[in-house]
C-alpha cells in the first residue's frame, strides 16, 4: 500500500480490436462455493489491467483461470485465439504464451538463477542451450541482476528473487503476463525495485494483468482498473475515474480503507 510516486513514463496505448484475452459468461465453483460469478472481460493487446478487491474476492482465482492453473466450469475463456478446454495440447500452448509471476516467487531452488531462466525455453521451446543462455542473460540484465546468474535462489533477497521470476517468465517471450500480488511478500524497500521492472515492461507494450494493491502503480501504468467483490466484477474504469470518481458504494468503501482516508 505504499503509493510511492512512480515515475510516469511514456506508456504506449493498447491496440484496440486485437483481442488478447476474451472471457464470456465464465463461472467457477469450489465444491458448493460459487467463487467466480458470470465474469465477462475482454483484454486488448497491449492493455495493462490492474485487478483489486478485498481478500477472498476471487482475484487470484480469476487470473489463474487464464492459464488454467484453475479450471472453470461454465462459460468461455479464449487466450490469444485458443480456447481453454480440457484439451491438454491447447492448455500447454496457452501456458507457453502466458507468463505468470507468483506472490511467493516459486523459483526452483535446486537450479541456479540462470538454469531457472533457461529451463523452459530449452525443454518447451526447444531453443539450443547456448542461445537460451544468451537470452536469459539479456533478460537478467534487464531486471538488473546479471551478476547473480550463477547463484541459487536461496542466496538472493526477496526482491531479487521476484525479479528473477519475472526474467524467467520473459525468457519464454510471452505475449501476456499475469501477476498475482507480486510485491505483497516483499519488504517495503524491495517493492520499488520490482515495481520499476514491471513499469519498464508496461512501457514496452506488454499485455499485463496484475492483481495488486499498489495504487501508485495502477495510476502510473494501468489503462483500466477492475474492482472485484464476492466473485464478481463490480466496477471497472480508467484509473483517473476509478480513484477520483468511484461509482459503487463497495468501491468507495474499499478505496477509503486501502488509501487510509
Amino acid at each position: 500500500m505504499s503509493d510511492a510516486a512512480v515515475p510516469l513514463g511514456a506508456v504506449p496505448p493498447p491496440v484496440p480490436g486485437e483481442v488478447a484475452v476474451q472471457i464470456t459468461g465464465m463461472n467457477k465453483w469450489y465444491g458448493q462455493f460459487h467463487v467466480l460469478r458470470d465474469i465477462n472481460l475482454t483484454v486488448d493487446r497491449g492493455e495493462r489491467i490492474v485487478i483489486c478487491g478485498p481478500s477472498g474476492s476471487g482475484k487470484s482465482t480469476l487470473i489463474r483461470c487464464i492459464n488454467r492453473l484453475e479450471e472453470h466450469q461454465t462459460g468461455q475463456i479464449i487466450v490469444d485465439g485458443t480456447e481453454l478446454t480440457s484439451n491438454l495440447r491447447n492448455v500447454d500452448k496457452v501456458r507457453s504464451e502466458v507468463g505468470m509471476v507468483f506472490q511467493h516467487f516459486n523459483l526452483f531452488p535446486h537450479l541456479t538463477v540462470l538454469e531457472n531462466c533457461t529451463l523452459a525455453p530449452i525443454w518447451v521451446r526447444k531453443v539450443p542451450k547456448r542461445e537460451a543462455e544468451e537470452t536469459a542473460m539479456d533478460f537478467l540484465r534487464k531486471v538488473r541482476i546479471p551478476e547473480q546468474a550463477n547463484k541459487y535462489p536461496g542466496q538472493l533477497s526477496g526482491g531479487q528473487q521476484q525479479r528473477v521470476a519475472i526474467a524467467r517468465s520473459l525468457c519464454m517471450r510471452p505475449k501476456i503476463m499475469l501477476f498475482d500480488e507480486p510485491t505483497s511478500a516483499l519488504d517495503p524497500e524491495m517493492i520499488k525495485e520490482v515495481l520499476d521492472t514491471m513499469i519498464e515492461l508496461a512501457q514496452e507494450g506488454m499485455t499485463m494483468l496484475c492483481v495488486t494493491h499498489e495504487m501508485g502503480f495502477a495510476q502510473a501504468v494501468a489503462n483500466r482498473v477492475i474492482f472485484m467483490d464476492q466473485g464478481q466484477i463490480v466496477e471497472q474504469n480508467t484509473p483517473r475515474e476509478f480513484f477520483n470518481n468511484p461509482q459503487s458504494e463497495r468501491t468507495k468503501l474499499f478505496l477509503s480503507q486501502i488509501l487510509g482516508h
Binding site: 492459464n67 492453473l69 491438454l88 500447454d92 500452448k93 501456458r95 507457453s96 502466458v98 507468463g99 505468470m100 507468483f102 511467493h104 516459486n106 523459483l107 526452483f108 531452488p109 535446486h110 529451463l119 523452459a120 525443454w123 518447451v124 541459487y152 536461496g154 542466496q155 524467467r168 517468465s169 519464454m172
Partner: protein, 438 residues
C-alpha cells in the same frame, strides 16, 4: 524505570566501536572431559555406568578374538593348539575356519579359476554408477553405464561373448527406431515400434545370430550356472540388482499413487499395500514354489532370477512410500510454476519435482536399501547358499562341527562394512546437495 528513561532521553553516539574479537573459548582435554562427562551427579553416574558396560563387553570379546588361532585345519586341531598355548578353561576364537573357508564364504561354489570374475564385475558396477552418483563427472561416462549391465552379466555368468552382445544390439536397435521415429512418424507408432522391434529381435533373431557368431569366433568365458553362485557373491548380486531395479519402479509407483487417473492410482495403492502387508519370506517362498505354476510348462526360469524379481518388487513398494513422502513435502508452488511455464507432466516431474523430492527422500531410500541388502540373507530359507546358508553347511561338516561364533562374526563384519559404506555415502550426498542449494 530505564524504559521511560530511554524514551525521554535522546541519545546520539559520537564514537563508533571498533570490531572486537569473540571471547576465547576454553579448550583442552581436561576441560572437554569436565564439560561432557562429569558436569553433574547424574552425568557422573551415567559415565561410570557406560564405562563399566563397554568394559564388560570388550574384556570378554577382545582377548577371545585377539588370541584367536589361525592355522588349524579343523576344530579339534584348534582345541589342541589352544590347550598347548593357554591354561585350561581359556576361551579362544578359532579363526582357522575363516582362513580355511573364506573363499567359499565369498564365492560359494563358483569355479576357483574364475574367482577374479565377481570382483571385476563389482568394480565395473562401481565405475558404472559413478557418473550417476557424482553428477559433475563428464556425461560421456554414461555410455559406460549403459554398457555395464551386459558386461557384468557376461563376467558373472560367462558363455560366449555374443549372447550379451546380441542382447545389447537389441537395445541399440530400439534406440535407432525411437530416434528415427521421433523425427518422422507419429508418437504412438514410434513407441510401439520401439518396444516391438527389440522384442522380436530378441525372440527370433538374437539366439541364432549369437550361435552363428559363436561358431565363427568362439570367444567367451567358461559358463557358470546360477546354482553355483553362493556366499557374498550371491548376496551382492541379488542385493545390488534389486537395489538398482527397485528405485525406478518405486518412483513410478509413487507417481502412480498420486496420479489423477483413477485406475492408475488404485492399482498403485493395491500393489503397495499388498506387497507391504506380506512378509518378504512369504514372497520368497512364492517365488520358489508358486511361480512355477504360473509360468508355462517346461520353462526353466532361473531361481536366482526369480528371487531378484521378488526382492525388486518388494523393495519397490517401500521405495514408493518413501518417495511419496518426498513428493508430498514439496510446496504446491513448485508444481504450479512448472505448469505455468508450459512444461508437460513428465518434464515437470523429471526436471522440477523428482530432483527435489528424491533429495528429501535420500535418508529413507538408503534405509530401505540397507534393509533390502540385509534381507537377502533370507534366501537361505529357500535353499540358496548365501553366507548364512553356507555357515549352516560349514557347521555341519565333520571338520567344523560345533563352531558358531567365528563364522557369524565374520559375516556380520562384512555386512557391516557394506551397509556402513552406503550410510556414509548417503550422509555425504545429503550434505553436498544441502550446500549446493543454499
Amino acid at each position: 524505570m530505564s524504559d521511560t528513561h530511554a524514551q525521554t532521553v535522546a541519545q546520539v553516539r559520537d564514537t563508533m566501536l571498533p570490531p572486537a574479537p569473540p571471547p576465547r573459548r576454553e579448550t583442552g582435554a581436561i576441560h572437554w572431559l569436565r564439560e561432557n562427562l562429569f558436569s553433574g551427579w547424574l552425568n557422573i553416574v551415567l559415565t561410570i555406568l557406560a564405562i563399566w558396560l563397554v568394559w564388560t563387553v570388550l574384556s570378554g570379546f577382545v582377548p577371545w578374538a585377539w588370541r584367536g588361532i589361525w592355522g588349524a585345519g579343523s576344530l579339534t586341531e584348534c582345541r589342541q593348539i589352544r590347550d598347548q598355548l593357554y591354561p585350561a578353561g581359556t576361551s579362544v576364537a578359532c579363526w582357522s575356519v575363516i582362513s580355511e573357508r573364506w573363499q567359499q564364504l565369498i564365492f560359494g561354489f563358483y569355479p576357483p579359476g574364475g574367482y577374479w570374475r565377481p570382483p571385476v564385475a563389482l568394480a565395473v558396477f562401481l565405475v558404472a554408477v559413478l557418473p550417476i552418483l557424482f553428477t559433475d563427472l563428464p556425461r560421456r561416462l554414461l555410455w559406460l553405464t549403459v554398457a555395464a549391465p551386459f558386461l557384468i552379466f557376461f563376467l558373472l555368468w560367462g558363455g560366449t561373448i555374443w549372447g550379451p552382445l546380441t542382447m545389447a544390439l537389441g537395445v541399440v536397435l530400439g534406440g535407432v527406431v525411437w530416434l528415427t521415429g521421433r523425427r518422422t512418424g507419429s508418437p504412438l507408432v514410434t513407441l510401439v515400434a520401439t518396444i516391438l522391434v527389440p522384442l522380436l529381435f530378441w525372440m527370433f533373431l538374437a539366439k541364432p545370430l549369437a550361435a552363428e557368431l559363436a561358431q565363427l569366433a568362439p570367444w567367451g568365458l567358461p559358463r557358470v550356472a546360477s546354482k553355483d553362485f553362493g556366499g557374498f557373491t550371491l548376496s551382492v548380486v541379488i542385493g545390488l540388482s534389486a537395489i538398482c531395479l527397485s528405485l525406478p519402479l518405486g518412483v513410478l509407483l509413487a507417481l502412480g499413487r498420486r496420479s489423477d487417473m483413477f485406475f492408475i492410482s488404485k492399482i498403485a495403492i493395491a500393489y503397495i499395500e499388498l506387497i507391504r502387508g506380506v512378509p518378504l519370506i512369504v514372497w520368497l517362498f512364492t517365488a520358489q514354489l508358486l511361480l512355477n505354476y504360473f509360468l508355462p510348462r517346461g520353462t526353466n526360469f532361473d531361481l536366482m532370477l526369480r528371487v531378484i524379481i521378488m526382492a525388486t518388487l518388494f523393495a519397490a513398494a517401500y521405495i514408493a512410500e518413501v518417495v511419496r513422502g518426498g513428493l508430498a513435502a514439496l510446496p504446491k508452488g513448485q508444481y504450479e510454476a512448472a505448469d505455468a511455464l508450459g512444461l508437460d507432466y513428465w518434464q515437470a516431474m523429471r526436471l522440477i519435482v523428482l530432483p527435489q523430492a528424491l533429495k528429501i527422500s535420500i535418508p529413507g531410500i538408503v534405509n530401505t536399501f540397507i534393509g533390502l541388502f540385509k534381507d537377502t540373507t533370507l534366501v537361505a530359507f529357500i535353499g540358496m547358499y548365501d553366507p548364512i546358508g553356507l555357515a549352516t553347511a560349514i557347521r555341519a561338516s565333520t571338520d567344523w562341527q560345533g563352531i558358531y561364533w567365528e563364522i557369524y562374526v565374520f559375516i556380520a563384519l562384512v555386512f557391516f562394512i557394506f551397509c556402513f559404506a552406503m550410510s556414509r555415502y548417503s550422509i555425504w550426498l545429503e550434505r553436498r546437495l544441502e550446500r549446493s542449494h543454499r
